[in-house]
């Protein structure tokens, strides 16, 4: 075994790379965020790098197929397939970097009647004396139970460790934080208790710091989920976790570390100490939920894909190493099924006031897996659609994630293409909303037929043996052309067909027609950026008047906030999960027919 020196550009990170570790593994070890959709199996061709200097292993078959001979000559490789043979300098193209990304933080803010699970009680105790020899705990308990009419019986062990000295130095006055019948924190200051709400997404993590007395959000922040380094999608991560208990533990460790730095950042912004956080609510999909708690995930990966834990949970923050008040609890909302998790419950909770008065509502969160719920007269039926990563830019020739240089809006006027990029910089590729616009515009202009076939057009050309529509010419920006290929259209047909068939199967299952749908709630980052008209044009969403659609942003984060501020909201979340039933899409008798029909445009 040998070591070589490696330098990653443009991030400027240097380090040693073993000759038996792939460039991808080395990059992740050194903290260079290279996208890895498939967990290092060379499947999605997303970890593209360029060897600037030095020699490396020979290209594998999949690299030879994926890259043109020019690209190979220019040193383009896949990081997961490449091993060093000498000291190297490696360039990581913008589209292969996991950061920076635009994060979606703002959601639909709605008021809630405050009733947090943790109550703050100010106690003023008489000091012990020769005639009052009660222990410190008993002294507090008596006061709490008499003055606040509580039936407090328990103290968190970490509270007890500091309580005695705190009481004596604060002249027997303190603020005590009580949750159910347990003292979870104590403070000498009369400052309010804080709460932490987290939407733990597969790709992104959004955190919010709230004042439990006022219900106000003090600060919010977003970071990338560090588990991305171990596989971009949930399946790759389960696969990684299943390799060994140590690896599963590692996934928990990295995400908790990130949650801790996120918390520190939130506290710094709000100028408060993290020990003041006396309660946290974390929502995520079932896999994120299980990995956070280091619960078994094996059963999530085999049919019939059941969660280890479906009900809501309260765990001590120190049990997973989250640095807030040591006695504080983390509340986890219930999961609906293996593929429909607590984040979906949180989304339904947050949007409850939108759907509760209408008898037929579709609520969906579009991602690699798209969760769709049909709310019909109080019953909730959910499905999960394998929409794939096409809308995140994967599998699309010039697709990329929503970073600088991505075309996010596009219009075809006559033969001219007008577009807008993120960061207002020259275009590098297309992100999900741009791809969606492009397909819709080409379809509406008749360049693509209903069955997805590309017709003739001045901008259509033959390239690498297939038809493609040139959106941005080679000349225009001095770099390769940006095109939509026939294969791209097919990928989008499959992705949008998966989503639409989810909606159609739900309607059929419940005996409804799409025109009866009163509202369509679109949650999540991608769903908030898309042009709904484009989604309707290509038939990804049903043909309803546009005013029936509502894009609500990160509703899962809002749901987490609500559950933080009110016990009633937690009960509501339980009720929602209880009322929800999950159906397996592919098991639906007409699924195949419905899916094939849904792959047509329009």
């Amino acid at each position: 075994m040998g070591y070589y020196e490696v330098e990653f550009e443009p991030v400027g990170r240097r380090g040693k790379c073993r000759d038996d570790e792939s460039v991808l593994d080395c990059a992740h070890r050194l903290g260079v965020g290279i996208v890895s959709l498939c967990g290092g199996r060379g499947k999605f061709h997303c970890c593209k790098i360029q060897i600037i200097k030095g020699s490396v292993s020979k290209p594998t078959k999949s690299e030879i197929e994926f890259f043109s001979s020019e690209e190979l000559k220019d040193g383009y490789r896949l990081a997961c397939q490449t091993y060093l043979k000498s000291n190297c300098k490696i360039k990581v193209p913008l589209e292969s970097l996991t950061t920076p990304q635009r994060l979606q933080l703002e959601g639909l803010e709605i008021g809630v009647k405050l009733n947090p699970p943790v109550k703050s009680c100010d106690v003023k105790l008489s000091p012990p004396s020769m005639v009052d020899l009660r222990g410190d705990d008993e002294r507090i308990m008596d006061d709490l139970n008499h003055q606040f009419n509580l039936s407090c019986r328990k103290f968190d062990i970490d509270v007890l460790k500091n309580m005695s000295s705190l009481l004596r130095s604060s002249r027997w006055e303190a603020r005590v934080f009580v949750r159910d019948n347990e003292v979870v924190s104590i403070s000498s200051k009369h400052s309010s208790g804080l709460g932490l709400a987290v939407d733990l997404g597969t790709t992104k993590i959004a955190g919010y710091l709230l004042d439990l007395d006022s219900g106000k959000t003090l600060s919010s922040s977003g970071v990338m989920n560090p588990q991305i380094s171990y596989g971009e999608d949930i399946v790759s991560r389960i696969t990684y976790a299943m390799e060994s208990p140590a690896k599963k533990k590692k996934l928990q460790e990295v995400v908790v570390n990130t949650l801790n730095s996120l918390t520190a950042d939130l506290c710094r912004r709000a100028n408060v100490e993290k020990e003041r956080i006396v309660e946290a609510v974390i929502v995520g999909n079932t896999v994120m939920h299980h990995l956070l708690l280091d619960l078994p995930v094996d059963q999530l990966a085999v049919s019939p894909f059941v969660p280890a834990v479906q009900n809501s949970l309260d765990v001590k923050s120190r049990d997973i190493g989250l640095n807030i008040a040591p006695g504080a609890y983390i509340h986890l909302l219930p999961n609906i099924a293996g593929f429909v998790g607590a984040d979906h419950v949180a989304m339904l909770l947050a949007t409850e006031r939108i759907w509760k008065d209408d008898d037929l509502v579709i609520a969906l969160d579009i991602g690699t897996n798209t969760e769709v719920s049909l709310i019909d007269n109080g019953d909730i039926t959910s499905v999960s659609c394998a929409s794939g990563p096409a809308f995140e830019g994967a599998h699309i020739k010039d697709g990329m994630r929503a970073t600088n240089g991505a075309i996010e809006r596009l219009q075809l006027i006559g033969d001219e293409v007008k577009y807008q990029t993120i960061g207002k910089v020259p275009p590098v590729g297309l992100c999900g909303s741009g791809i969606l616009d492009a397909i819709a515009q080409l379809y509406l202009a008749g360049v693509i037929s209903r069955d997805g076939k590309m017709n003739d057009h001045p901008r259509i050309r033959f390239h690498n043996n297939q038809k493609e529509f040139v959106l941005v010419d080679e000349k225009e920006n001095g770099s390769p052309a940006i095109t939509i290929t026939q294969k791209d259209v097919r990928e989008i047909q499959l992705a949008k067909g998966a989503i639409r068939s989810g909606i159609d199967v739900l309607l059929q299952e419940r005996g409804h027609f799409e025109q009866e749908i009163k509202k369509v709630i679109i949650a999540g980052a991608f769903g908030s950026y898309i042009n709904v008209a484009s989604a309707v044009s290509i038939g990804m969403l049903p043909p309803l008047p546009l005013n029936r659609f509502q894009q609500v942003g990160n509703a899962a984060g809002i749901g987490a906030k609500l559950a933080l501020l009110s016990i009633e909201e937690r009960f509501k979340a339980e009720a929602i999960a209880h009322r929800a039933s999950y159906i397996e899409l592919a098991a639906s008798p007409d699924f195949e027919k419905i899916f094939l029909r849904a792959t047509y445009l329009g």
Partner: protein, 214 residues
Amino acid sequence: MNNEILEGLRKAIKEYDNEKAENLAKRAVEEKLDPLRVLDAMTVAIREVGDAFGRGDLWLPDLVGAADAMQAAMPIIEEEIKRTGAKRESLGTVVAGTVFGDIHSIGKTMVCTLLTAEGFKVHDLGVNIKAEEFLQAIRNYNADILAMSALMTMTAPEQKKVIEQLKKEGLRDKIKIMVGGGAITEEFAKEIGADGYDPTAPGAVKLARKLIGR
């Protein structure tokens, strides 16, 4: 007259008109057409559809529809082949199915239809097939090729299980294994010890021929 029937049958398959395909197959039998010639005509039609799909000119439902139309006519012709005792040379016997835990069938059915059209004897076991069911079928039919599909990454490892079971029972070297489905890659296929992989249905047919050297 005869050519008219064959031409009509070709057209029925390409326009996926099940009823017409079935009727024309019946007429072909009535008019005592050579069932092997009829089968050839259908094979050519489905192959043309498969090729157009491969080029991106036709879309998935076209292929599924054409396959359906062919399936509508097939039993009638097969019955006639059996009755007349005509011998159709088979390229080999294939056992196919979607692995346990996975109930997606579109891709698998596509491959089966095209393999049949090519001249293979195909036993499509269906979806959600356990390792032991694959093994059972391989023994029963004395298969030359095992074709497994998995759409979900979650179920892809099941293919490995089947291969390991084959090894354990000493059957691995007696059969060629091809794998496919949305969750499968070339690397994965290699890793689990399959003999071949192709991302498309028309490609799978070429692969099958290559594997058995025909």
